[in-house]
């Protein structure tokens, strides 16, 4: 941790020395610790402390970037010199957006003293809850419990300065028997909000219920997807389709569809970096304040996120969703939400005459990105449901399905939403469970 005062001093030092037309100092720092357990004991237990600055200089229409975690005066000077050399070698970029000028950034509630001060013993005791309950039930526990303190700041030569500090605590567990497994995962700003006893009971219960799985042939089945699986759908859509660059390049399913109904009317998805029920991040990597962006509202395609480059191209304002600039990836939603519905968790299953209950997906990758066709496996608890009740566990299945098509078949949306860390390890996603009229399973496996 550097702190706002030290960052301001460091940034002033760099900005004073820079001879570039525009200069930006991006600070990314953090202290993170993770306790990992498997076979019902702690086998890895780590901590790290790092602070790095990324210097971006613009000379005319040329950009140079250098990153270092040597924050000494000499280290910063070397990095600045490297960035200047890199810029001088580049060809002119005709579409270079200016850095953002001074502007107010709202504060987000993203910090917890309890998380920042979490001790190795606190993490070990949390791991112990999973290990102990699993052993008591004749099962084995694996998982990870992490507490992180992050710090981010942006200062530029146009006078813009922002700095923020936040915390994240997250845990996941896989509880296993010889022929079954169960899963639980959660995230929070405040480590005290992680209910490890409830999560352990959830995963243990799932592992016990999924013993002796039966084979089920591939085919299209109605499904209830628990929120772990829904999170995968929402996150991959964010990656594939909810960025202005993806639309501009014609590889997003949103392209040419704005204002049209493209999903079931019960689906609403948005990004909000300030919502305290997520993992807030008040500004992006250019220091632009985060705006709420609605992607899908009642099934209708509404908008996508912008950084300064995509915004300049369309003559609009950045929505505060840049990654470190410049980059070939474009803007990215890091605080995604899907609206909860009106159906209870039990009601989602009760409404399934015949079909599958899927706990989560594993190793999902786009097969045909423009159509959001994704393949992956089920994992850690897949069940056959008949007449609204779990009938028996089944062996895992492979699916190959368009996530866009799947969200056109939403029959019901769960009332409760749950917060998870994004699969990209930065930001969060809060989603409900859903029931779909059909989901295409294309293969089987042996367990």
């Amino acid at each position: 941790m550097l702190g706002e005062k030290a960052f301001r001093k460091l940034a002033d030092q760099v900005l004073a020395k820079s001879k570039a037309d525009q200069t930006e100092v991006l600070l990314q720092a953090g202290d993170s610790a993770l306790t990992r357990f498997a076979n019902s004991y702690i086998h890895q237990n780590v901590a790290e402390s790092d602070a790095a600055v990324r210097l971006r200089v613009v000379i005319g229409q040329r950009t140079g970037v250098a990153t270092t975690n040597d924050l000494s005066a000499e280290g910063l000077e070397r990095a600045l010199e490297t960035a200047m050399i890199v810029a001088s070698l580049q060809p002119e970029s005709p579409s270079l957006p200016p850095m953002p000028g001074p502007q107010a950034v709202p504060q987000a509630v993203a910090f917890s003293e309890a998380t920042a001060n979490a001790s190795p013993e606190l993490r070990a005791r949390a791991a112990g809850v999973f290990c102990t309950l699993a052993r008591e039930k004749g099962l084995t526990a694996a998982g990870a419990f992490r507490t992180s303190l992050w710090e981010m700041g942006v200062a530029n030569s146009l006078g813009h300065f922002v700095h923020s500090v936040g915390t994240v605590a997250d845990v996941n567990t896989v509880i296993m028997s010889e022929d079954s497994s169960g899963y639980a995962e959660a995230a929070a700003v405040d480590v005290r909000h992680l209910d490890v006893e409830a999560l352990a009971a959830e995963a243990v219960g799932k592992a016990l219920r999924s013993r002796n799985p039966r084979p089920l042939p591939a085919g299209e089945y109605p499904v209830v997807l628990e929120h772990y699986a829904t999170a995968d759908i929402v996150t991959i859509m964010g990656y594939l389709a909810f960025s202005a660059l993806a639309v501009q390049e014609g590889r997003s399913f949103m392209a040419g569809k704005f204002g049209q109904l493209i999903m079931s009317p019960s689906v609403s998805i948005w990004d909000d970096g300030l919502d305290p029920s997520g993992l807030p991040l008040p500004f992006d990597f250019e220091g632009v304040p985060k705006k709420r962006v609605d992607f899908i509202k009642d099934g209708v395609a509404i908008s996508v996120v912008h950084d300064s480059a995509t915004a300049l191209k369309e003559g609009v304002q950045s929505t505060g969703h840049s990654l470190p600039m410049p980059n070939p990836q474009g803007p990215f939603p890091l605080n995604m939400f899907m609206a909860g519905g009106t159906t209870s968790a039990e009601g989602l299953i009760a409404g399934l005459d015949k079909g599958l209950l899927v706990t989560r997906f594993h190793y999902t990758v786009p097969v045909h990105p423009a159509k959001a066709v994704v393949t992956g496996m089920t994992r850690d608890g897949t069940f056959w449901v008949e007449k609204g009740e779990i009938a028996y566990p089944v062996k895992n299945l492979r699916f190959t399905e368009s996530y866009l098509d799947a969200f056109n078949r939403v029959e019901a949306v769960g009332r409760e939403t749950q917060l998870l860390v994004s699969r990209f390890e930065i930001g969060g996603v809060r989603v409900p469970a859903v029931r779909l009229a059909g989901f295409r399973f294309t293969g089987t496996t042996e367990f």
Partner: protein, 481 residues
């Protein structure tokens, strides 16, 4: 460095550690991406720091910091000890590392041309020329060319007397062309998918790729795919090119032979393995022509080094011999559980991560066929080239891969171009169907610079030596179109 490593190791001992090691790592990265005629990113990235790993009360602790100074070394060493003591609250049996490792040595990647000595203008010129050649083809919406150079300098010392200094140099580069039209989006990459091919080598590797000369073909193929028919579905014979086979080896052999996965310690994230301990030495993994080795000693391989991050020397280890599964990738701790010595595969993704078992260069040894003869010998089937998508279950049995292009094989000749080709199978059944592998003339060690594993996540750079090979009775196609 000796002063700092001695300081950490001595302090750890004083505080009760029965084993300690320290790694001091500096990594310099220069990456350049040209996209649609503009330099999309050109970055110089340096990260340096150290990590201290200890065993106290029979349990592991690790702490790391970017500030390499004596007082911080003391703080981090004490924190590692505190963390280990917390681990000991929930341990089953004390850590056993087997025989001590006390190598003293150095290793430097042999390079002809240090990539950091080459003027940036030269690389920019090359990438801009390749980009221009791709965009000259009508229908290309996104052209991307990139290069990456990495230098990692690391010092390893442990409480058993090891002291090792290494410098690993990597060079990578590649092209991607995205065509949009006909209501479709298609891509082609070169020389490998997902941005680049990479090896432990100097600038000579980038020059040998001939990115500029290859760019027009890459772009033209992407455009042709827009109007190509979808690959038909069915059970048939397939021939995989070497790049696709590299990823097939990676996912269906490389990961399931990691002994930490087998022993359950990666269960919470990546999963476990179907290659359970009872299968070692007896299980038929593939047909009798399938021979797979783990080899960290091959010149130029992306998984090539002198010593792993536990100080164990690089080795060549048989994994599958004449189709029978005979070996795992091991660490000191996992090998000791089998009464073996580590085969040197523990690597950490930088100073702030612990070493975990990672692939080195996992190679399908070459066979006897010329590629043209293999096609001529195939009456009916599909030739598939270059990975587009990949997925496999958490025990590494059921996999599904998609490739950028496919061609019909009819009566011993390549014919119709197909798009959206996928194939799927169960690992040992798939490898049992391997009946022909091309010879060393077609064999290359392909770099995979993006192998994810561990919590917190780590990315490893690994290699796979492969040549095109043929597989019988494979399910092709699951997509609607």
């Amino acid at each position: 460095m000796r002063e700092l490593t001695d300081r950490a190791l001595n302090l750890a001992k004083v505080k009760g550690a029965t084993y300690a090691d320290m790694r001091i790592v500096r990594r310099d990265i220069r990456s350049i991406t040209v996209k649609n005629g503009e330099v999309a990113s050109l970055e110089s990235y340096t990260t340096a720091g150290f990590g201290v790993r200890v065993v106290v009360d029979g349990a592991w602790g690790f702490a790391s910091s970017a500030r390499l100074e004596p007082r911080e070394v003391d703080r981090i060493t004490a924190l590692a000890v505190q963390i280990a003591k917390a681990s000991a609250l929930f341990k089953l049996e004390p850590v056993n590392l087997g025989e001590p490792v006390a190598h003293v040595g150095t290793y430097h990647t042999p390079v002809k041309v240090d990539p950091f000595s080459v003027p940036l203008e030269k690389t920019l010129e090359l990438l801009l020329a390749a980009d221009g050649a791709m965009r000259a083809v009508k229908g290309i919406v996104v052209a991307e060319s990139s290069a990456a150079f990495i230098r990692e300098q690391k010092t390893f010392a442990n409480s058993e007397g090891a002291y090792i200094e290494q410098e690993i140099v990597e060079t990578g580069g590649g092209l991607e062309a995205l065509a949009v039209g006909n209501g479709d989006v298609q891509q082609r990459s070169y020389p490998n998918s997902f941005g680049r091919h990479q090896g432990t080598a100097g600038y000579e590797l980038l020059e040998a790729m001939d990115l500029v000369g290859s760019a027009p073909r890459v772009a033209e193929e992407a455009v042709k795919l827009l109007t190509a028919p979808v690959c038909p579905s069915g059970v048939t014979t397939i021939i995989l090119d070497a790049t696709q086979l590299a990823l097939q080896v990676h996912e269906s052999c490389g990961h399931p032979i990691e002994l930490d996965r087998v022993m359950g310690t990666e269960a919470a994230y990546a999963g476990t393995s179907f290659l359970t301990l009872d299968k070692l030495g007896t299980f038929r993994y593939g047909s009798p022509i399938v021979n797979i080795t783990a080899d960290a000693t091959i010149p130029g391989g992306l998984g090539t080094f002198g010593y792993d991050d536990e100080g164990v020397e690089a080795q060549r280890t048989p994994i599958v011999r004449e189709g029978i599964f005979v070996g795992y990738l091991t660490s000191r701790e996992t090998a000791a559980k089998l009464g073996q010595r580590s085969n040197g595969t523990m690597r950490a993704d930088g100073w702030n991560r612990i070493p975990i078992i990672r692939m080195t260069n996992i190679n399908l040894e070459p066979g006897e066929w010329e590629f043209d003869d293999l096609i001529a010998d195939t009456d009916d089937g599909i030739y598939m080239e270059m990975n587009k998508s990949w997925s496999i279950d958490d025990k590494r049995l059921n996999f599904q891969f998609g490739t950028e292009v496919a061609y019909q094989i009819k009566n011993g000749k390549l014919g119709q171009l197909y798009k959206n080709a996928t194939y799927t199978g169960i690992t040992p059944q798939f490898w049992a169907g391997c009946d022909a592998i091309c010879n060393r003339n077609h064999w290359n060690v392909w770099g995979t610079p993006n192998c994810g594993k561990g919590q917190p996540p780590q990315t490893a750079h690994v290699g796979h030596g492969t040549a095109p090979a043929r597989f019988r009775n494979v399910q092709v196609g699951v997509m609607k179109g």
